[in-house]
């Protein structure tokens, strides 16, 4: 049976990748009006990266294996 923790990892991995990608896009193409406080901190880059790494770790540790 696939572990619940694998599904958690998959969710964090995909969400982290999407958020990191959006952050890098904004880093390369800064919007004229960012619309958020502390845009200069680029939270979506580092937060997306953290989620990606945690998700990847969970996916690797709890990946489905043959019995």
């Amino acid at each position: 049976m696939i572990s619940i923790w694998f599904f958690i990892g998959l969710s964090l991995l995909v969400n982290g990748a999407l958020i990191l990608s959006a952050g890098i896009y904004q880093l390369v193409n800064p919007p004229e009006n960012p619309g958020v406080v502390f845009f200069n901190l680029h939270a979506n880059v580092w937060w997306g990266a953290i989620l990606f790494v945690v998700g990847l770790t969970y996916c690797l540790i709890f990946r489905p294996r043959r019995a």
Partner: protein
């Protein structure tokens, strides 16, 4: 106009393409989990009790998550903006002692009796009338509450994202109906644990960036004192009198009404949360799961209360009560969390924050529906309608009940849409049963002399007394001075005292009727009552693996936190 835009009107926040992809991925993942687990829900034990094979971590996080709904998050963030740090009492004294009490005192009896539900325990301890009263009231109120929450959440989605109410109601309810009817309780639990992680991943940035903007906790306290009052950042120091704190409550209401009765009733007898623990794989897991839940519960104010306090300090607009916002078009207290999300979260992060809110709502609904399904099938249908069905028959009944339960919830949501005042009545009704039920279960577990008639009449009289007090204040608001001991009491304070009095009525009636009637023979109480039940040992394990050790750690942290924020 795109198809999605047809369902979008005015909104508080604006999602980008990547945000919509994150929301869509969440829906796809929960449906995939339900589909994957459908082959593992073929027997009654699998479908209704998740095979009783959950680890302590999964049961503990699911136990906490079933209570961590979106309305809970937004509502308590709004309460923190309105009442200050006092709202934290509902997470600390209003939860931690009760969770530890469940773990160390009550869970052994629930677990040893191998009951499927809390009404099932009442059947074993007090007989069929008590079970019928408890099961019917629980089943009825659970689907109504689910519908009320569904409407409230659809309303939030309309205000925050501009989504059409019908779209929100049907998409979310059909998704829940599919994954719970396919995978049963196991599917609901898996998704609750997923939701727990999404909530933290989606909401934790708000306090981090908020404290950075406010200049740390010290500066935040100064700003709140300037914009509101110094009492907004003290947990206990203003509770010596009803008029010296923003909530209009006295410390006795918090300690005895909330801490000793209302929270005990909710965390130890509400089957919605207790069902998650009953799915644990062994007694040690069942005892340690609520302790894990308690540990994380203490941290939840970080992502709920702190954003509300930060909103007081950093938001440029002043938030107002819902009734005022409806007239003036301004933002209400309940908007504080979405406003803070929009303040700090750019593309992607905003989608994750909104997904956390949607996930919170859906797992709350799945919790209601799975608890309703179990109580209906095992405590109403099987004993009262068809006691000769096969296990497969009851599983099929569970699947269909899930769908019917969701449809009743949808019907309730539309009823609330037509008659908004129903929402207040349903929410009040739910609270009527909690405190008396705690009195009945507590006496049942701890007092051998409590008899079947005593349990039934105590539960009934406690519930009726709660309804009477509520109706009295509704008809004559000045009665608040008697029910809540002060004319200055706010609604939350009234709930605390109402719970306290109805618990006392339940206990007195149970004791008096029990002493006047014949008790059950002790032989029939083995496995159900303290003193007649050998509680199995958790085994010969190191001290740091024992539930009592971790309960002690949680209590120490709990005391330290209360002193720090005194």
């Amino acid at each position: 106009m795109s198809p999605l835009a047809m369902y979008v009107t005015e909104r508080l926040v604006r999602l980008s393409g990547v945000d919509y992809v994150i929301v869509a991925f969440y829906f796809a993942l929960v449906l995939a989990i339900g589909w994957y687990l459908k082959g593992r829900a073929n027997t009654g034990e699998d479908f209704f009790m998740a095979g009783r094979e959950m680890t302590a971590w999964v049961a503990g996080l699911s136990f906490l998550s079933a209570n961590l709904g979106a309305l809970e998050l937004m509502g308590w963030a709004g309460s923190a903006y309105q009442y200050g740090i006092l709202a934290t009492h509902w997470y600390w004294i209003g939860a931690i002692p009760a969770m530890l009490f469940l773990a160390l005192v009550m869970m052994p009896f629930y677990y040893i009796s191998k009951t499927h539900s809390v009404p099932g325990y009442l059947k074993l301890r007090f007989g069929e009338p008590s079970r019928a009263l408890s099961a019917i009231s629980f089943a009825f109120m659970t689907v109504l509450m689910s519908g009320v929450n569904m409407f409230a959440m659809a309303k939030v989605m309309q205000i925050v994202l501009g989504w059409d109410i019908n779209f929100s109601i049907w998409v979310s309810s059909l998704t829940v109906a599919i994954y719970v009817s396919l995978g049963g309780l196991r599917s609901a639990i898996f998704n609750e644990v997923l939701q727990f992680f999404l909530i933290w991943a989606g909401a934790l940035l708000v306090p981090i960036l908020g404290l950075y903007e406010a200049g740390g906790w010290g500066n935040l306290k100064i700003q709140i004192a300037q914009r509101a009052s110094e009492q907004y950042v003290h947990l206990w120091s203003g509770l010596g009198h009803f008029t010296t704190n923003p909530m209009g409550i006295h410390w006795t209401g918090i300690v005895f009404g909330l801490g000793a009765v209302l929270s005990m009733g909710y965390w130890t007898t509400d089957f919605l949360v207790v069902q998650r623990i009953l799915a644990a794989k062994d007694i040690r897991s069942a005892e340690i799961a609520p302790i894990i839940g308690a540990g994380f519960k203490m941290a939840v104010p970080l992502i709920v209360i702190l954003p509300g306090l930060l909103g007081l300090a950093v938001l440029p607009v002043k938030l107002v009560p819902e009734s005022v916002a409806a007239v003036t078009g301004g933002h209400s207290y309940n908007d504080v969390l979405p406003l803070m999300l929009a303040r700090y979260c750019g593309p992607g992060l905003l989608g994750l924050g909104i997904t956390a809110l949607i996930a919170g709502f859906m797992s709350g609904m799945a919790g209601n529906v799975s608890a309703f399904t179990t109580v209906w099938t095992y405590d109403i249908y099987r004993p009262l309608i068809n006691s000769k069905g096969t296990d497969r028959h009851y599983v099929n009944m569970g699947r269909w009940t899930t769908i019917v339960g969701v449809l009743i919830s949808v019907g309730t949501a539309y009823l609330v849409m037509q008659f908004a005042s129903i929402m207040d009545y349903v929410q009040a009704l739910f609270s009527f049963f909690i405190a008396p039920l705690f009195g009945t279960v507590l006496l049942g577990m701890l007092w051998k002399r409590a008899s079947g008639p005593g349990g039934f009449w105590g539960l009934l009289c406690g519930t009726l007394s709660s309804i009477s007090m509520w109706a009295w204040v509704k008809v004559d608001p000045s009665a608040l001075r008697y029910v809540a001991l002060s004319p200055h009491a706010k609604a939350l304070a009234q709930d605390m005292y109402q719970a306290l009095w109805s618990f006392i009525v339940c206990v007195i009636v149970t004791v008096v009727v029990s002493l006047a009637t014949k008790p059950k023979p002790y032989a029939e109480l083995t496995g159900l009552v303290y003193g007649l039940t050998p509680v199995p040992s958790v085994g010969n394990i190191p001290f740091y693996e024992k539930p009592i050790f971790w309960a002690g750690v949680v209590i120490v942290v709990f005391v330290i936190l209360n002193i720090i924020f005194w």
